[in-house]
């Protein structure tokens, strides 16, 4: 680990991060200590290589900031074209995730309605809904009542019809 700070050339990727990556890439392989140290330095070298190349490409394009396009072209010209596809994929996924998050939050923000107003609207909607519910319930109750009444009437007329029928019979009998 870079104990001597202040010297740019001593900047390296933290050893632990490299060790972890080596372990994930070559599980169960013993790696000599000096080999690990070497990989750490190779990383730094790689970063310098890519940034210098990207910087050159950037200068040629007359832009001041190194863009992702410059980096991709640098990788290609340095012979690391095989990395480009995967690297692009991950960048795209990140962007999509970030974009979704931004869209979601901005949709809410860009309504332009302050929070209190939103709250008030919400209360209104709730009240409306409750009212509708109450009306619906009442209607249902009325319907039920009506249906019950009708049922009663129907039952009553049915039984009275029976009675009438039977008394008619009696009458007929008498007449005969």
């Amino acid at each position: 680990m870079a104990s001597s700070s202040g010297n740019d050339d001593d900047l390296t990727i933290p050893r632990a991060a490299i060790n972890k990556m080596i372990k994930e890439t070559l599980p169960n392989v013993r790696v000599a200590n000096d080999a690990r140290e070497l990989v750490v330095n190779c990383c730094t070298e790689f970063i310098h290589l890519v940034s210098s190349e990207a910087n050159e490409i950037c200068n040629k394009s007359e832009k001041k900031t190194i863009s992702p396009e410059h980096v991709i072209n640098a990788l290609e010209s340095l012979g690391f074209g095989s990395y480009i596809a995967e690297v692009k994929d991950v960048l795209q996924e990140c962007k999509t995730v970030a974009l979704k998050r931004r869209k979601a939050s901005s949709r809410l923000e860009n309504l332009g309605i302050p929070e209190e107003e939103l709250l008030r609207q919400q209360q209104e909607l709730f009240a409306k809904a409750r009212q509708q519910q109450a009306e619906l319930a009442q209607q249902e109750w009325l319907q039920m009542q009506q249906a019950a009444q009708q049922a009663q009437l129907a039952a009553a007329s049915a039984s009275s019809a029976q009675q009438a029928g039977s008394s008619q019979d009696e009458d007929e009998e008498d007449d005969m």
Binding site: I13, L38, S51, L75, F80, Y83, L91
Partner: protein, 119 residues
């Protein structure tokens, strides 16, 4: 069904999005290169990810081509060999010279001095 796919995709994204290397450190190293001024955030991300791939690539090909396959070890010389033999890794030869035995080095020094003397 599609919802599950989405969830998986997001998980994949976050998993591969978790870069193992610290972007801040990568930025510092980039800036220590001469003339490099401003770096776009996405460009920094790309570089970090590419460096990760590089480490994996270097480790894997050094191991595959190396002599450590039987002993299951990766040694310094495996890396040095990979640097010499693989074209894309040749930029590394400056920082990882093949180790030679001290006496061989001294010998070659002597021979060089002899040549100088002859001149």
């Amino acid at each position: 069904m599609s919802e599950k796919n989405m969830e998986e995709k997001v998980e994949q994204a976050t998993n591969s999005k978790n870069i193992s290397l610290p972007m801040s450190r990568v930025r510092l190293i980039m800036k220590s290169s001469p003339d490099v001024s401003c770096i776009n955030q996405d460009a920094l991300f790309l570089t970090t990810k590419a460096t990760e791939l590089f480490v994996q690539h270097l480790a894997l090909s050094s191991f595959k081509n190396g002599s450590g396959k039987e002993t299951n070890t990766l040694s310094y010389s495996d890396l040095a060999n990979a640097a010499e033999e693989t074209e894309t890794f040749q930029f590394l030869t400056d920082i990882l010279p093949k180790k030679i035995l001290a006496r061989d080095y001294l010998k070659s020094l002597e021979e060089m001095e002899k040549d100088d003397d002859k001149l």
